[in-house]
């Protein structure tokens, strides 16, 4: 089981990530993505910092943060299993796969948890070898409960 451990959020280290992005045109989304890559989530404290560094309103930053499905404001769990629930994967049993994984792990899809989360995803471009899933960034084709279990 591969665990991704992220460094602890801190305003000082966040500044170091944001400074180099000052020359990026339209930096807010890129900045939030960079923070999430580093810490596994975007700490709510980051809103004010991003607003200040790039000279935009907090409301704008908050708006971007809440719009995109990828961005999260709670710390990332040790493991994230994303299951494609779009049509092509439905046709080869992704609904059953989700049910099986929920049962096997005892967690519901799209709920946040500290250890493991199951998240719905909409297409990994692996639609000829579905059901598709991504476990901590690794794409898995013809996914089954056995293949996805830690």
């Amino acid at each position: 089981m591969t665990h991704h451990t992220y460094p602890q959020w801190s305003t000082e280290s966040a500044h170091a990530i944001l400074e180099p992005l000052k020359s990026t045109p339209g930096p807010v989304l890129v900045a939030l993505q960079a923070l999430q890559k580093e810490y596994g989530y975007v700490d709510p404290e980051a809103v004010a910092i991003v607003a200040q560094v790039f000279n935009v309103s907090r409301a704008d930053v908050h708006g971007v943060l809440t719009f995109y499905h990828d961005l999260r404001t709670t710390p990332a769990p040790a493991k994230i299993i994303k299951i494609c629930v779009a049509e092509a994967c439905q046709s080869v049993g992704s609904r059953n796969l989700v049910a099986g994984m929920q049962k096997a792990l005892g967690v519901n899809i799209d709920e946040s948890h500290a250890d493991v989360e199951i998240q719905s995803a909409y297409c990994f471009g692996n639609c000829a070898l579905g059901p598709a899933a991504m476990v901590d960034g690794t794409l898995i084709g013809r996914a089954t409960v056995e293949k996805l279990m830690p």
């Binding site: 890129v30 719009f67 499905h69 779009a86 909409y122 297409c123 471009g125 639609c127």
Partner: protein, 511 residues
Amino acid sequence: MITIFIPNDSAAVSIGANEVTSLVVTEASKRGIEIEIIRNGTRGALWLETLVEVQTPEGRIAYGPVFAEDVASLFESDFLHGGSHRLALGKTDEIPWLKNQDRVTYARVGIIDPLSLSDYEKHGGLSGLKNALGKTGAEIIQEVTESGLRGRGGAGFPAGIKWRTVLQTQAVQKYICCNADEGDSGTFADRILMEADPFTLIEGMVIAGVAVGATQGFIYLRSEYPSAINQMNRAIEIARANGILGTSILGTSHSFDLEVREGAGSYVCGEETAMLESIEGKRGVIRSKPPLPAIEGLFGKPTVINNVLTLASIPAILHHGAAAYAARGVGRSLGTQIFQLAGNIKRGGIVELAFGVTLDLLINEYGAGTLSGRPIRAVQIGGPLGAYFDSKKFSTSMDYESLVQAGGMLGHGGIVLFDESVNLASQAKFAMEFCAIESCGKCTPCRVGSTRGAETIEKIISGVDVPANTRLLLDLCDVMTDGSLCAMGGLTPLPVKSALTNFPEDFQGKA
């Protein structure tokens, strides 16, 4: 030294290509055989992955689908010299599934080493750009217009006309934006091209830049494609180091540079104006048109927005000429389409053919029916906003106009098969739910209507006042069609109504 090709494509890797590769390395060294492994892209026959190819004096010999447990026996069968084996497929180029295709945009995909510029040039790469550099912008655009190339992202707008508008709009800065958001379920042709032949997309974008006078490009690439993001970034660096990007393209006075912007899990950001908002770092809310992005696009500047496949078709058009491209296809659908066979299908993957082939040829001859072996009940074409067809529509000609006439749309060319276990009322409900999740929120019919739509279909499924709720559903669909700013809300009724029309038996309430 024997050369072996093992795809590095995400789909191939997802079912074991990396394990196969390391076993091949181990087995070869155990036997003291010197090999060189090239991690090519996929040939597109995903049902044969992992497709292992061996270079022999007669050509490349293929074995597939190879799984880890097959590797030792391949060595025992002397596959390194084309030995016979249960998985032997003969010469790759002679496999009918591949041989009968008409690979134009995908000419190099799966054949070359994706990041080798010399391989790229040996297989015709850069010829289109070199031809383009000898022409004026207007001449390049004339060529693109005459080729008949239309947008492959969904709307099918003629590429040349869009480019001309950008050329004719005066501005100090113009942009080329490549839409690599590929959000439609059942589609993966953008991804495969970017992983297997990234320089083709770069070349297409440079040509677009030279044609309209743009010096900066962006590729908006979905976060669900980490390997494609990585591959494009590496290819951009190589292109920059070799004068294909930068301030003096192939030694001329033209300059063009390129940056990848990663998506953030929003389907609606595939709509072009939402994509521009997203590249600008904002919420992916749709812009009203006018102004057209070609006049006021990214950061308010004239912008060409094209799909990956549209831009990746440009080098071939400039290389072989507009006439060769336009000689393919039917009616106003010229050239080739990269069809993607997906879902419950035996032989899924990429089929590039001239427009005008039948749906039946694709799903039954190429696709060989369902993976489950049960009869095909429904086919969804064109992603989540596309129609569900029943078998009466399998004779439809696959081109923009015929599909619309048949009550559907081509979209990005994804074809998803369902066997008889599918329930079309559930699929219709999913279409509404997906719209509710992905709506940008600007229009009430899309934002609220989709949630109401899902609830109404749920009532129909549970048998609550079916006739009244069916009428309500149809009314809702009309309101969404008429009152939505973009195709997210405007076309969600297409899968819903086609399911209802073509599969009424699934909307009768509880059996």
